[in-house]
């Protein structure tokens, strides 16, 4: 079996790959990327089923294995076609799209998917709250239903936190409490929330690295239409679980070459600065290099096993390993740097759109990686998930799952 260039090593059907290449060429023959306006080109690409081949027919794809996507992307790249700039819409493409496709109704899919994929509408995720981190199901943001045409609307009050790209977002994936009188998991409902409406206020949240990647979102009498509800009333927890599985895969799942991850800058410093080496650091360097390479191989093996593209709880392992490695490597790197490790590039408060681990100094890498074991599910929660869902170990006795949410201590 040979690799597919992204390191996934998954066998692809040559016929399908060739057929897709031909489809792209036919499409390009009728849509000149050089002369068509960018958005017109992207919308037409979506309508031709060549946006994301694993999306369903009629919704930007053809229901094909996602391992075929590089075939299409490569053809478009070679032709110099504009991309949908996926880095601008990570939550939208990584989490909103699979959630909408799995749990949305047909009207919602038709209304949201194209503008999501083209990047015309950025999505963010309104899950965590100051009082609901690991215990997400205990969240307190209230959604109260009001009757009206088309199912009426919901009035939402509460505070969300750790919301990336909220200040650019048109839509938010909102998890809110629709019924406080039932146990906590049963009283949640999932919505698409219009971030530009009244009652939605976005404020930057400064973090220990100095800048603000994330936001706080204050919802004060915000109105969410019932037609934007994703899944049934009270089914929000199940929908959110689907979203979070995709989050863990997207955090631990990007293929990299050897020395391509966080180990890269540490290895470069090691090779370029022999005067910084000590015997103890050498042992750590060798161990970290080996651990990083084995983790890279394990991630590649995980992708090989993902034949259908459905993330399983094994994604939790990848995230757990990369969080630990990133922290150990950067801790090593800042000690190795010695005098340089005592300086920091910039504490200025500013908004930063994306994490730039490699464009900044070692101090930033050291500090930012502390968040890797907290964001997207703490390492402790991931160990619970592995223990219970993979190994089948019993849950701890709990007092919070059977009583009405409103009666829980908080």
């Amino acid at each position: 079996m040979t690799g597919t260039g992204d390191g996934a090593g998954v066998t692809t059907e040559p016929v399908s790959a060739d057929g897709l290449r031909q489809q792209v060429r036919d499409f390009l023959a009728g849509h000149d990327p050089a002369s068509l306006p960018r958005l017109d080109f992207l919308r037409a690409r979506f309508d031709a089923g060549l946006a994301a081949v694993h999306y369903p027919p009629g919704l930007g794809g053809q229901g094909l294995p996602r391992t075929l996507q590089p075939v299409v992307d490569t053809e478009f790249a070679v032709a110099g076609a504009p991309t949908n700039q996926p880095e601008r819409n990570p939550i939208g493409l990584g989490m909103a799209a699979p959630t909408i496709l799995a749990f949305g109704n047909e009207e919602q899919k038709a209304r949201w998917m194209r503008s999501l994929w083209t990047g015309e509408e950025i999505w963010c995720q309104l899950f965590s709250e100051p009082g609901a981190g690991s215990d997400l199901a205990g969240l307190a943001t209230r959604a109260v239903h009001q009757d009206g045409p088309d199912g009426g609307h919901w009035v939402v009050d509460g505070q969300k936190v750790w919301t990336s790209v909220a200040h650019h977002a048109q839509w938010g994936l909102l998890l809110a409490r629709s019924d406080p009188d039932v146990p906590k998991h049963a009283g949640l409902t999932y919505f698409g929330c219009d971030m530009t409406g009244p009652g939605v206020e976005v404020r930057p949240l400064r973090q220990l690295t100095g800048e603000a990647e994330f936001n706080e979102v204050f919802l004060t009498g915000a109105v969410v239409r019932d037609v934007d509800r994703i899944g049934a009333v009270g089914a929000g927890w199940r929908v959110a679980q689907g979203t979070l599985m995709n989050e863990r895969v997207s955090i631990g799942g990007t293929p990299v070459p050897r020395e391509g991850g966080m180990i890269g800058p540490a290895v470069r410093t090691w090779r370029e600065r022999p005067e910084l080496r000590t015997p103890g650091l050498h042992d750590r360097m060798l161990r970290l290099w080996a651990d990083a390479e084995v983790a890279r191989l394990a991630a590649a093996r995980f992708r090989q096993s993902l034949a259908t593209g459905q993330p399983g709880p094994e994604g939790s392992a990848a995230k757990l390993v990369f969080a630990r490695l990133n922290q150990e490597i950067t801790e090593f790197e800042v000690e190795l740097a010695r005098a340089d490790g005592l300086r920091y590039d910039d504490w200025t408060m500013r908004r930063s759109g994306e994490v730039d681990f490699y464009g900044r100094d070692v101090g930033y890498r050291y500090l930012r990686s502390r968040g890797n074991s907290i964001e997207g599910g703490t390492s402790e929660i991931l160990r619970n998930i592995i223990a219970e869902r993979v190994l089948g170990l019993p849950t701890e006795p709990r007092t919070d799952t059977t009583v009405p949410w409103k009666d829980l201590p908080r």
């Binding site: 050897r258 022999p274 394990a298 090989q304 392992a317 170990l393 849950t395 701890e396």
Partner: protein, 396 residues
């Protein structure tokens, strides 16, 4: 700032990130099923434990069935010698299953190490015997030998004696702590002198003494070998012999890593099972988060070890230039995982895990012994200093 910018290719054999197939093929799964069902019937752990206290610590009858009937002895041997013409990928499956069962069979010494040596320095008769399962062989080196060790100073060529009409080469010396030598019919002995090389010695030769060692691993008993003017037949000489031994020890390290993977997986399984049924404080102890997190970490370690072990097997099978890196990674990751798994198995079983009547100790002893065999995890990581271009202090 001083800089050293050597060739970037060193340690970068997979620069594009393309990784070979690390999963198990359907044929490999079939082989696994056949071996596992045989071992379940003939080497369940009470039988394995009972055998450790007999004079026949190796189950030669079981090895005969595995070798000849299941075809495990000839997995690496080409069909032209009567073997199965398979590869290190399939052999790794055999190793994993042997590790799961702590099976007292000499697969490692015979079907891996001696076979790899003889494939590097081909000897048609010996290979045919190994493939048919009629011959069991062992490379006569201490079990703690590392692939790059110079294996000199133990046995010397002392003959032929003047006036010996046979002109037979004679060997004299001692080799301590050899794995899988006890059931071997032929020993492959590296010897110094003229001509230095690798010699085949019949195990029943006069002058050869094989003394069983009271071994930490009771399921792979070592032997101390003493040779006094023992006849030997040359298999390879000079650099060819050294290369054959190095190849054999590298293969041994890689397959030992697979064995450790199987052992670690088995320890995790029996520990998880036990923690579901063991009640204390009116709860299954597996519901305590303090224990769940340890098992989750162990599961992750096994997952990482499997990727490393499969990568090493795939690299050896494909003759990949990244093989030295792959073997070092696998022996380091799997050695640590196996030791951790066996130690956690003892600890999380509590009192019963410390008894003779529970199999945990068999796994613990096998795990620690194999982490010393053919190079410790630290030794293999240290090889990355040159393989991955990570020199230590004082070096440029």
């Amino acid at each position: 700032m001083s800089t050293t910018t050597g060739p970037v290719s060193t340690g970068q054999a997979a620069p594009t990130g393309v990784v070979p197939d690390l999963l198990y093929s359907a044929e490999e799964q079939d082989l696994r099923d056949a071996i596992r069902s045989l071992l379940a019937g003939r080497a369940d752990w009470p039988a394995v434990l009972a055998r450790t206290e007999t004079s026949e610590t190796y189950d030669t009858g079981l090895w005969q069935v595995l070798a000849a009937e299941v075809g495990c002895a000839g997995l690496l041997i080409p069909e032209s010698y009567g073997g199965a013409g398979a590869s290190y990928r399939e052999t790794a499956v055999l190793a994993e299953e042997a590790g799961r069962a702590v099976a007292p069979v000499p697969y490692l010494g015979s079907a891996v190490v001696a076979t790899a040596a003889l494939l590097a320095a081909p000897d048609a008769d010996l290979l045919a015997g190994l493939a048919a399962g009629t011959l069991t062989a062992a490379l006569a080196v201490p079990f703690d030998s590392r692939p790059s060790d110079e294996l000199t100073g133990r046995v010397r060529v002392v003959g032929p004696q003047p006036g010996d009409p046979s002109g037979q080469v004679r060997l004299t010396g001692t080799i301590a702590g050899v794995a899988d030598a006890l059931p071997a019919g032929v020993l492959l002995v590296p010897a110094d002198g003229v001509p230095a090389g690798l010699y085949a010695v019949q195990a029943d030769s006069p002058g050869l003494t094989s003394t069983p060692v009271v071994s930490l691993d009771q399921t792979r008993q070592l032997a101390d070998l003493a040779l006094d003017n023992v006849p030997g037949r040359p298999v390879a000489a000079g650099p060819d012999a050294a290369a054959a031994v190095r190849t054999a020890l590298t293969a041994g390290a890689a397959m030992l890593a697979a064995e450790q993977l199987g052992l670690a997986e088995k320890c995790l399984e029996i520990t998880v099972s036990y923690l579901k049924v063991r009640y204390q404080f009116a709860r299954p102890v597996g519901s305590f988060q303090a224990l769940k997190h340890r098992l989750a970490d162990l599961w992750v370690a096994v997952l990482q070890a499997r990727a490393a072990a499969r990568y090493a097997a795939a690299c050896l099978a494909g003759g990949d230039p990244d093989s030295p890196v792959a073997v070092a990674l696998a022996k380091a990751a799997c050695g640590d995982a196996a030791t951790l798994a066996a130690q956690e198995c003892v600890q999380l079983h509590g009192g019963i895990g410390f008894t003779w009547e529970h199999p945990a100790h068999l796994y613990l002893k096998r795990a620690k012994s194999t982490s010393i065999g053919f190079g410790t995890p630290d030794w293999h990581r240290a090889t990355l200093a040159s393989l991955a271009r990570l020199p230590g202090p004082g070096a440029q």
